[in-house]
């Protein structure tokens, strides 16, 4: 029997060591470097305590990155979940060519975000202004990605276009777990479609809603590819996300230690955010 136990340990230990070496160890290193003044390439560095952390809180670029990332993540998460739920309801109805449409709506999920970003870059830069020119729509004539106040909306649009695919499939799976006799009972009672949605559908897919909101928010907070493909963080620093700031400052700005401190703070924010979301959404699930 102990031979079996040894086998179980042998099955897991190498994987765990590798996981520790390539995931946990660099994370610990990140925390360690955040207490130093290392620029990433010089042979020596010194301990500076919490100096980096103090400076992060005074850094306008960091604040700016958090503001962009938050407003981007909140709007994208809400739009993606609302649209996905609507599309899933549509795909779950008795429609023509259902499998074809399901395949179309899922398609963006298999495409590289970076390349999708490049394609949309062209749409915002050339197609929309071209069409707006012909139709005389003034405010769409210029590239919104070049506008400091609107560029972030462009990134939200691409993110929504892409991630609706995955979330729709999740909601669709959720909808298919609802037994159809519940709807039959409701329609006998003369419930409207609207009422049916809020009293049967939504409460029953609430767990899917919770998990979708939490995962989407966490993924959206880490936005990187979209920004690199579409604006590179610009114009100015208008669309610089936290991941982009850490990447650029850490690798090319000589701020290895400083951006590590930023990343540690980011970790805390993600954990707190996830915790609050779970608490809040699970409480709602209970109430329904």
């Amino acid at each position: 029997m102990s031979k079996r136990n040894t086998a179980f340990y042998l099955m897991t230990i190498p994987a765990v060591l590798l996981f520790f070496a390539f995931h946990t160890f660099p994370a610990i290193q990140g925390v360690y470097y955040s207490l130093t003044n290392w620029n990433g390439f010089s042979p020596t560095y010194e301990f500076v305590g919490f100096k980096n952390y103090v400076n992060i809180f005074k850094d306008e670029n960091v604040l700016n990155a958090y503001i962009f990332t938050f407003k981007y993540a909140v709007l994208t998460t809400i739009l993606v979940n609302a649209l996905s739920l609507i599309i899933a309801l549509g795909l779950n109805a008795k429609i023509k060519f259902r499998n074809f449409f399901r395949a179309v709506y899922f398609l963006p999920n298999i495409l590289s975000i970076l390349i999708v970003g490049f394609i949309f870059n062209y749409i915002f830069g050339h197609v929309i202004p071209d069409v707006a020119e012909k139709m005389g729509i003034e405010f769409l004539k210029s590239n919104i990605l070049g506008n400091e106040n609107l560029a972030w909306i462009g990134i939200v649009i691409v993110a929504v276009w892409q991630s609706v695919a995955f979330n729709t499939i999740l909601y669709l799976a959720g909808l298919q777990t609802i037994p159809s006799d519940l709807y039959e009972a409701a329609s006998l009672d003369g419930a409207t479609k609207w009422k049916e949605f809020w009293t049967i559908t939504f409460p029953l897919i609430a767990p899917f809603f919770t998990i979708n909101m939490v995962l989407a928010m966490k993924n959206n907070m880490n936005v990187f590819d979209h920004v690199v493909a579409m604006t590179g963080g610009g114009p100015g620093r208008a669309t610089e996300s936290i991941a982009v700031l850490i990447y650029q400052g850490g690798f090319t700005g000589g701020e290895f230690a400083y951006q590590s401190a930023n990343a540690v703070i980011f970790l805390f924010i993600i954990v707190v955010l996830t915790f609050i979301q779970l608490k809040f959404l699970q409480k709602r699930e209970m109430e329904m």
Partner: protein, 272 residues
């Protein structure tokens, strides 16, 4: 009464699907046009197919090499993720009553909350110090980083497999390894498909890890290649779009033939 087509829903769904298809139509149209044609009409159908755009894109970006790089990383990542992650999950799932395995489970799952930017800077130093700043190293990272989610997917499934199936093999004298490979692994096929599809989509389309890990442009994977060539494409949109389409096409072609399978695979992973 319930079998009538609901046109009030079909129409908006059809219109919505045009929003999904439009960027792809545009990409194909631009890739097939000549620069003059594009200047005259951005949205129109191409009058003739300028396939030389694709030839130029292949030559310019060295497409076949990038394709090979992406294929190498994706195949290694998928095969070894399935073989190793399922085994780790099996050992965990069958020993959840032991502290070691239980803590292991929570350790791997909670790692999902660590945002990648925290690891990003140190992992670059680490991989280059170990000589892993290459395609092999990249594949290893996908296999290792996938553990968190995959363990979650596999463990749930393995716990639903009745132990009686294993006990029969144990009575016949099979070792834990034998039980796993001969009894459990074949039963995991649906989850292996799910994990394989998710890993494939991730490794093929990922941009961030290749960007930070690979420093030799010869090793660039397809998305990274598009990024590197962004400056050289500059205003040559026809070549650029031909290149994008070439990079997107392998997975799209697979998807056209296996979409049902891909969607159900992803769904099964998601609702676990």
């Amino acid at each position: 009464m319930k079998n009538k087509t609901n046109w009030a829903v079909t129409v908006p769904i059809a219109l919505g699907s045009l929003l999904i298809l439009f960027p792809l139509y545009l990409a194909i149209a631009v890739a097939l046009k000549s620069p003059e044609e594009l200047a005259n009409s951005i949205l129109g159908l191409p009058k003739e197919f300028h396939l030389e755009n694709f030839m130029r894109a292949i030559e310019m970006t060295n497409f076949f090499q990038a394709f090979q790089n992406s294929a190498f990383v994706t195949v290694i990542a998928v095969v070894f993720t399935i073989l190793t992650n399922s085994m780790v999950a099996y050992a965990i799932a069958r020993n959840m009553d032991k502290t070691f395995f239980k803590s292991l489970y929570y350790y791997l799952i909670s790692a999902m909350f660590i945002p990648f930017p925290l690891i990003m800077l140190p992992i670059v130093k680490e991989t280059s110090a170990l000589g892993m700043n290459n395609l092999f190293g990249l594949s290893v990272l996908y296999i290792v980083y996938g553990l968190s989610l995959n363990i979650f997917i596999y463990v749930g499934y393995i716990r639903s497999i009745p132990r009686e199936l294993e006990e029969a093999a144990i009575v016949d004298g099979a070792s834990a390894w034998g039980v796993f490979w001969k009894v459990i692994f074949p039963l995991l096929s649906p989850m292996n498909a799910t994990v394989g599809i998710l890993t494939c989509l991730w490794a093929w389309n990922d941009f961030m890890l290749p960007l930070i890990i690979l420093n030799d442009p010869e090793m660039a994977t397809l998305p990274l290649k598009q990024y590197i060539f962004q400056g050289q494409f500059s205003t040559d949109y026809n070549t650029a779009f031909a290149s994008y389409l070439l990079a997107l096409s392998p997975l799209v072609i697979v998807y056209l033939f296996a979409q049902k399978w891909v969607i159900s695979g992803v769904t099964k992973g998601a609702i676990k």
